[in-house]
Symmetry: C2
């Protein structure tokens, strides 16, 4: 079994590799060879049952994708992307990486499959950024894609290409629309969504965090652990189980900021929650107001995808995976 | 006023130019200069109030689109496309013309608009091929795009690009999803939809036509005259009237083959209708079964787009526009 992961140096990529290299694929004893691709060198996992090839390069360059596909990976997990803020700030680079890069990879597989029979499983990481206001309270899989960012448009285009290349038998594709990942490890960043993670992550280690929106704001979440679950499940799901659509909204937790705070209190006490400083930011409030709040993910649930059912579970996953199960909450309120 | 029309040598392009060159834009006395682009030379209209420049070339070549945009047309009507059957039969050419060509045109406008303030109206001819089975009986504008052909995917991608380039203020775009055009002048062709026109067009001039599907088949139609109306209306519609979506399903007539035949009888008698020979074709029956039957086009109607309300009107438009108002129905049944 040979798995190619693009975007392997990213947060989700690294967690996915850790999972697959330590446990392999579910219900399989087969050794796994990895090709790990990114613009920078992906870290090599500590243990692995097979070979590991680390490749760097530009995914829009055919020589890169030809090199990646030459080993005829059985499963391709395509995570590589210019992130939302980059794609919005740099029009040309966003389209280059997210549209041309995806198409370059897909087309290299097409040429390889025309040369000699080859139909790998392709898992494409899409995003709920394909949906933008006006939106219904609960969005079904049959709702039209109306992205309000260039990143969302590029992911929507990727979904359409995935469906067409699959229909033509070039690969066997599944596009999964990931929820907002929370708690995201690391430091706060300039993404409008950054606070969803920092209002939990920082108080859990005794640091202050800023909440720029009202506690009534509702959004759609899953943990990094759930995101890795989705990718592994999509990589191994028999295509015979799939319905007519190859792009599927992943399950998640529809929760308010207040739900996040209540779970934080239950987990780390009122003192941790008191580290959250409410400093309304009209710009972030406006951006967030166009984001989806809730989805009907019944198709994904039918297919066996599973997410957390509460923020207690999401926080527990973070503390176990990032803090070795230990808590620290010492500083008083701002 | 300067209007650029791509795909100007096609059936709709030529009818559009005839309309605009003889009558100009609605509610305007302004002279109209034309740039007419296609892979072959577009015919020059007989009368025109302004200059006419005919350009041929490859729309995926930047030197072509730079030349087209250099004159800074106020209105661009982008009809150029590899048609459905071509795009399905020739994967690479379909994506090249319909995706790369559209993007090349859009990006040339982006560069021009960054150089010096410029925001033309862009009318993009999309298609109901962006919708594929499974479909509800009546499809709303909020229904997701699930094309079942590469042509439909390419049109869906064009819609997403149009929305993003409009959101960014690069141009002021409107994408209009045209119904199946009927009665299409000319000869029967190999398109699966060809019979929808030929079962009216041929009997109206006393010739036989083959009907490959059941008379209960329902589909969504508008005349070539209505298609030209849509394009002219989209070219001049104030953007302040538009709602949140820039891609809109055009109104049409949801009708069965039986409705077509009854209208033919009313117009040209039972003898004309008897020239239709029912020869079921399982391949065409299967293709047609995945096509949409009816739409809720209320947004387009709100914006003032109008189509025919009966097949009597569609046949009358054909006889007036193609047959100088004269009928001929002489041969007996097959």
């Amino acid at each position: 079994m040979h798995i190619l992961i693009t975007g392997a140096a990213g947060m989700i990529g690294r967690k996915l590799i850790d999972r697959l290299s330590s446990g392999g694929l579910p219900n399989s004893d087969e050794a796994v060879d990895f090709t790990l691709f990114d613009v920078v060198k992906a870290p090599v996992p500590q243990s692995s049952s097979g070979t590991i090839k680390v490749v760097t390069g530009d995914i829009t360059a055919p020589e890169t994708t030809i090199n990646l596909v030459a080993g005829r990976p059985d499963i391709i997990i395509h995570l590589a992307a210019a992130v939302s803020g980059d794609a919005e700030g740099n029009f040309e680079n966003g389209y280059r990486v997210n549209l041309d890069g995806t198409r370059c990879l897909f087309d290299t597989i097409r040429v390889e499959s025309e040369r000699l029979e080859y139909t790998p499983r392709m898992v494409f990481a899409s995003s709920l950024a394909v949906f933008g206001a006006p939106l219904p309270n609960k969005i079904p899989d049959t709702y039209h894609l109306t992205p309000r960012t260039s990143y969302g448009v590029q992911k929507a285009v990727g979904e359409h290409l995935l469906a067409d290349y699959t229909r033509r038998g070039i690969f066997d594709g599944i596009g999964i629309r990931l929820p907002t990942i929370c708690v995201r490890p690391g430091n706060p960043n300039k993404a409008a969504s950054s606070f969803f993670s920092s209002i939990l992550r920082e108080p859990l280690i005794g640091q202050e965090a800023i909440l720029p929106v009202a506690t009534t704001v509702r959004h759609w979440f899953a943990s990094p652990r759930a995101a890795v679950d989705f990718l592994v499940h999509a990589a191994t799901l028999p295509s015979s189980k799939l319905g007519p659509y190859r792009n599927i909204t992943m399950p998640g937790l529809s929760a308010t900021i207040q739900d996040q705070i209540e779970a934080l209190k239950r987990f780390a006490g009122d003192r941790a929650a008191s580290l959250i400083c409410h400093e309304p930011d009209p710009v972030i409030e406006r951006i967030i107001s166009s984001w989806p709040e809730n989805f009907d993910a019944s198709e994904a649930l039918r297919l066996g995808f599973r997410a957390e059912a509460s923020f207690d579970e999401i926080i527990r996953a973070h503390v176990e995976d990032e803090l070795s199960g230990k808590l620290e909450a010492r500083k008083p309120c701002c």
